[in-house]
Amino acid sequence: MGGVLLQDVTKDYGKVRAVKHLSLDVKEQECVVILGPSGAGKTSTLKMIAGLEEVTSGEIYIDGRLANYLQPHERDIAMTFESYALYPHMTVYDNMALPLRSPVHRRPEGDIRKRVLDIGTMLGIDALLDRMPAQLSQGQKQRVGLGRCLVRQPSVFLFDEPLSHVDAKVRHRMRTEIKRIQDELKTTSIYVTHDYLEALALGDRIVVIEQGEVQQIGTPKQIFDEPANEFVQRIVGDPPATLLDARIAVIDGEALLQVRGTSCTLPVPPDMREILLERHNPNVRVAIRPMYVTASLVEGAACQLKGSVYVFERIETKGVLDVRVGEIALLAETSPDFQSRPDQDMWLQVDLDHVRFFDPQTTAAITA
């Protein structure tokens, strides 16, 4: 088990720069998740680590060795593909056995048989070993792809969005299983996804990437509670946090936030007061997660805002209420049985201890 080190790695496709000066140190036995929307450069990064794409500039070290000029089969890695990439003309057994029949990793057939059966049982696909890929369901194909990856014991596992084409229900179950496998095997892994739930569940650290640039690298807790900029703030959380434009003003000695698009004001949290007042620019962006907004049908003393209901959605264990305050839309988390009608009056209370501030020009977080 080795680590993976990327130093100032850049990837250009012709004139398009897909990855910009990415530096990342994945320690041994660590699972790092690269999280970002489609087109952010995450798959390109993974393919460069695998050796399937050339590095335009920068160095990649796998297990301490410079890997830039090594062929894929010379790097000790295993990879799952977004589209599974099973060999369509071979049975499930042969698909999983192939890595151990290759010139570089050859093992005797007896060993191969044992290994394939072990992994097959672990993933629950031992009954499918004689089938052809075309006869499998999406979930089964996904497991076979995973199995093919696990039969060897490489230095690094690379996962390329393994769950993106799977039904929602199967996805959640597979996510739990992958976490369990990772806990057991403790191999260095790099996992690429656009689903923040997978990132939070599986990553020891998360690298948030957008348009080829790293936005933040941190533990799941850091990414969730202390996002470094607006992009990271919005990518984690469903529904995502609402971002509002506001202006700091001092009225009657009290520091207040005047929210643009409404006539409402919110008090500034005491620990942020000094930092916000010291800034040259009185404009800020405020991020509020729906889980910290409470809605009620009656006006209470603690309620700071009043608006009208736009739409309500019941999601599983909670409800999401979209309330329009003036021109802005604020989302509040409610119980799943919350009753409301469109255009009904609604009062909102914001938990200001969990509000986060961002600079409107740089989108970076303003921290105390």
Partner: protein
């Protein structure tokens, strides 16, 4: 289907099929019968269907020329058969080796002028062979390729190569590149991945086009006529020799034609197995 009610639609369709089959197959059967008839039966009018079959024509074909008052033609049939096998077989093998690799390059790589080059290769089939024959003849004589097997093999590439490249290219394009990449990551070099993933999956296309290429080369008349002499004469041209100034040796010509058709048919039956196997692997998309 109800008894007593005739399905006119199906009946008509069946009649059409039978008629078409008869149209195609009857001449071949007639050819076969002709090749088994003696010189008198062959010329009989009205044509005889019941006759005493003889293998005389085949014997004469294979055992060289015979002196008799009915023959002026001299032709070396076994040699022509060998030549045709060498030329058609050689041309197909050469096209396979270079064509499949070229198809891979077109399918997977991006380089300047790719589509222009691909179209140029396809355009080799546009021009009728006759139009280019005189310069080719002059060139061949000049560089000494006239009347050589190599010369015939090379000129036959014009027939077989474009076909192979175009069909195999689209087969390879339909193979997801991730399957090759998976093989690379699993420990195979490029060539290993090509052997294990690309070739099996493209095999129906390769088999089908190599059959077509072989048959086209086997049946080719023009090149054999102009660019070969007695030593490298191919079957089709050799059969022509049975039409002479004074008479047509129908019997032997029929025998020669039958011999020309059989090996090609045998080859197709052999390769057909791969065609069917390749197609039953199901959709290429894993």
């Amino acid at each position: 289907m109800n008894r007593g009610r005739i399905n006119w639609g199906k009946l008509a369709a069946r009649l059409v099929i039978v008629g078409y089959l008869a149209f195609v197959v009857l001449p071949l059967i007639w050819l076969l019968l002709m090749s088994l008839k003696g010189p008198l039966d062959v010329m009989a009018l009205p044509p005889k269907i019941i006759f005493k079959p003889t293998l005389e024509n085949y014997r004469r074909l294979f055992l060289g020329t015979q002196r008799s008052q009915y023959e002026v033609a001299r032709t070396d049939f076994p040699r022509a058969l060998l030549n045709t096998v060498i030329v058609a077989g050689g041309a197909t093998v050469l096209s396979l080796v270079t064509g499949v690799l070229a198809a891979y390059a077109f399918a997977r790589f991006h380089f300047a002028g790719k589509e222009s080059l691909a179209f140029t290769i396809l355009s080799l089939r546009f021009a009728p062979a006759l139009a280019t024959l005189i310069p080719t003849y002059a060139l061949y004589r000049r560089i000494g390729l006239y009347n050589t097997h190599i010369g015939l093999i090379l000129i036959s590439q014009v027939i077989s190569m474009p076909l192979l490249i175009w069909v195999v290219r689209s087969y390879i394009e339909s193979i997801p590149i991730e399957c090759e990449q998976a093989a690379l990551v699993d420990g195979y070099s490029w060539w290993g991945a090509f052997r294990i993933v690309v070739l099996p999956l493209a095999s129906p296309g390769i088999a089908a086009t190599s059959v077509l290429a072989f048959v086209f080369c086997w049946n080719n008349f023009i090149f054999g006529l102009f660019l070969a002499a007695r030593q490298t004469q191919t079957l089709v041209v050799a059969t022509l020799a049975f039409i002479s100034y004074e008479q047509v040796l129908w019997g032997q010509m029929a025998a020669a034609s039958v011999m020309t058709v059989i090996p090609a048919m045998a080859f197709i039956f052999m390769v057909q197995r791969w065609l069917v196997r390749g197609l039953t692997f199901g959709a290429v998309k894993a």
